[in-house]
């Protein structure tokens, strides 16, 4: 078997194991996939929608928030699961020869599946709210690709360094929380005061979230050039991540 098809097989089996095991012995089973984003959404609607009246660029707030939650659940899920992926399989990593990159990649794959299932609910919500996606809705696909590149870069770096410095996973947890607040998930970008705008736009997710909403819900203009910045950052992180992972992988077995 070629090493590539072995890699693919292993990745598939790891994702499958994750999916199967996650909801075994739970009463609601796979319904949790839908339950989690719904609970999150409820909190957003209550706090940001009802209490704070966060601006939502003219679309119903639940729809606005949920489109953010779908994208964000991928970013946060992939990073928090992915950065621990190597350490949580320390026994295997120490004793079995296999391409270790499958572990963080499988975690990212699992998070992707979760948020795609949440995306199905978003589609249902759009139908209920009588919002028809525009012709540019296909842009969601490149958006997910860019998010994937970005997140993969971060996860490769974090999961590799976490083997040597356990501080990394703590740092990542805090970072993800802060990142959520600095990303237009629950509120529209328009709330950011002008003097902070340049700084705010340094966050590569801002353009991605903005554009995906514009494409899906028709909020604002479709300026594809905003994708260049996150794409460049993503490719930079991915190259760096692949390099870090490759250089550190031979030391995993003796360090976990």
């Amino acid at each position: 078997m070629s090493s590539l098809s072995r890699f693919r097989d292993l990745l598939y089996q790891l994702i499958l194991r994750d999916l199967k095991s996650r909801y075994k012995q739970t009463f609601f089973g796979a319904l949790w996939v839908f339950g989690r984003p719904l609970v999150e959404l409820g909190a957003y609607i209550l706090v940001f929608g009802a209490f704070l009246h966060a601006p939502s660029d003219g679309v119903p707030y639940p729809l606005f928030a949920f489109s953010g939650v779908v994208l964000w659940s991928f970013v946060a899920g992939a990073i928090s699961r992915g950065s621990r992926a190597v350490m949580s399989e320390r026994g295997l990593v120490a004793h079995a020869p296999f391409p270790k990159a499958t572990l963080p990649l499988a975690a990212i794959g699992g998070a992707l599946i979760d948020s795609l299932l949440a995306a199905i609910m978003l589609a249902l919500l759009m139908i209920v709210q009588h919002v028809t996606p525009g012709a540019s809705a296909w842009l969601v696909i490149p958006v997910f690709c860019i998010l994937g590149i970005l997140v993969t870069g971060i996860v490769l770096i974090a999961s590799a360094l976490n083997v040597f410095y356990r501080d990394v996973s703590q740092l990542v947890d805090v970072g993800v929380r802060v990142w959520l607040l600095l990303t237009p998930v629950a509120y529209a970008k328009s709330v950011v005061p002008t003097q902070f705008k340049t700084l705010y736009d340094l966050n590569p997710l801002v353009g991605v979230f903005d554009l995906s909403r514009a494409a899906l819900l028709g909020t604002g203009s479709l300026d594809l050039s905003v994708l260049w910045y996150p794409l460049a950052v993503g490719i930079g992180l991915l190259v760096l991540g692949a390099w870090v992972f490759r250089m550190t992988e031979p030391y995993f077995a003796e360090s976990v």
Partner: protein, 403 residues
């Protein structure tokens, strides 16, 4: 399809890292603070050997001697600090079998991930699924979550998956040191089949008889260094010498409750061999052990036993009350017991004698055991055969062979 290991050194870090430590190592160390603990150790020092294609090679040595590290370096899981390893052929490492098992998933579900880790494709696994469960004798448990398996069952399933690999180079790290006798037999059979199929094998094992049966060459490691490289029996003899040297540093190995013992064992004297601290005996010459004892108090009905052991196997044990001798004495009185073995029906090798004291002839477990109170070796012509004991035997050709 062979393996060439040349001049391999491997250093391990002994301290785990945290950012705090990384940062503080940048700062100058305060005066008066304790010196840092050792940061690293050499797990392998200048190890070289080659494994010929289609041969079977054993790595032997005590725990922590570097055997598993060597396997991991060969498997490419770790880089050698210095030196190089060359492997020709598709490689599989059997270690930590069933390590990927998830308790909530069924045996069937787990087989696919474990198989993928070992390098089996989904198609191969589907085709071999029945055979795998049959090999593990777990047909009834295919759809049972693995958390309901016993540890032995899980390991059996792990080995069964590995047994269906078709590697060119197979590395085995004590993979089947578990399981019941029937399963071990099947594992050994599978290994012989691998060997017959021309698989190059390297195995780490403590089991002398397995290694002698299976391996062409053995390498003895001690604290990361090569001590012996040659025939398996030579390597194991060298291993026995290392163990004895370590035990010699700690000769008074008394277990139990010496304070409660009715007798002190003052010395054990062996007669019948070549003399010296470890006399060389022959089966015909036999062996006489003289036990010098002293009563600690007024005693009666006391019994003394002697065991002959090799490594951790007790080959023979006896106690004097079985032949009608019970010891009675006044406090401080000296006694000498004599035990004669003739013939001494032991195979070639090196043996230890344990002396045991029982308060009473009906007592089952001894009050005091003096482990390795004496040592001796047995010399035999090699034509006597292999094994732990020497049975007197005669071959005869009864029929045929006229040509």
């Amino acid at each position: 399809m062979g393996i060439a290991v040349s001049g391999v050194w491997k250093r391990y870090r002994l301290r785990s890292r945290s950012l705090k430590e990384a940062l503080s190592s940048l700062m100058p160390r305060r005066r008066g603070s304790p010196p840092p603990r050792p940061k690293s150790m050499w797990a392998l020092e200048d190890v070289s050997f080659t494994v010929e294609p289609s041969s079977t090679f054993a790595l032997v040595g005590a725990n922590g001697s570097g055997k598993s590290t060597m396997l991991k370096v060969i498997a490419g899981m770790m880089n050698a600090t210095r030196g190089s390893v060359r492997v020709n052929g598709r490689l599989s490492l059997l270690s930590f079998l069933g390590g990927s098992f998830h308790g909530d998933l069924t045996g069937r579900e787990n087989v696919f991930l474990e198989g993928a880790l070992l390098g089996l494709s989904r198609r191969e696994l589907r085709a071999k699924l029945d055979a795998i469960f049959a090999f593990a004798e777990l047909e009834r448990f295919v759809d049972v979550p693995v958390k309901f398996y016993s540890a032995g069952m899980a390991l059996r399933l792990g080995f069964a998956i590995a047994a269906h690999l078709e590697p060119e180079v197979l590395l085995i790290d004590e993979a089947f040191a578990v399981g019941d006798t029937a399963f071990r037999d099947r594992c050994l059979g599978r290994m012989l089949a691998f060997k017959a199929a021309g698989t190059t094998m390297v195995l780490v094992s403590h089991e002398r008889y397995l290694v002698e049966q299976l391996c062409d060459t053995a390498l003895l490691l001690d604290h990361g260094r090569v001590v012996a490289l040659g025939r398996p029996d030579e390597a194991f003899s060298a291993y026995e010498r290392i163990i004895e040297a370590e035990e010699a540093d700690n000769p008074d190995d008394r277990e139990g409750e010496p304070a409660r013992s009715p007798l002190d064992i003052e010395s054990v004297e062996l007669e019948g061999g070549s003399g010296g601290p470890e006399p060389l005996c022959s089966p015909e010459g036999g062996l006489v052990a003289r036990l010098h004892l002293r009563a600690r108090r007024d005693i009666s009905g006391v019994s003394v036993g002697v065991q002959i052991a090799r490594e951790w196997h007790v080959l023979h044990g006896t106690r004097c009350n079985r032949q009608g001798i019970e010891l009675s004495a006044q406090a401080g009185e000296r006694l000498t017991l004599e035990l004669a073995y003739k013939p001494l029906a032991l195979a070639r090798g090196s043996y230890a004698m344990h002396v045991l004291v029982y308060d009473h002839r009906l007592q089952v477990s001894p009050t005091v055991v003096w482990k390795r109170a004496a040592r001796f070796r047995v010399a035999l012509p090699e034509s006597e055969g292999i094994g732990l004991v020497r049975l007197s035997h005669t071959w005869r050709l009864k029929n045929g062979g006229s040509r």
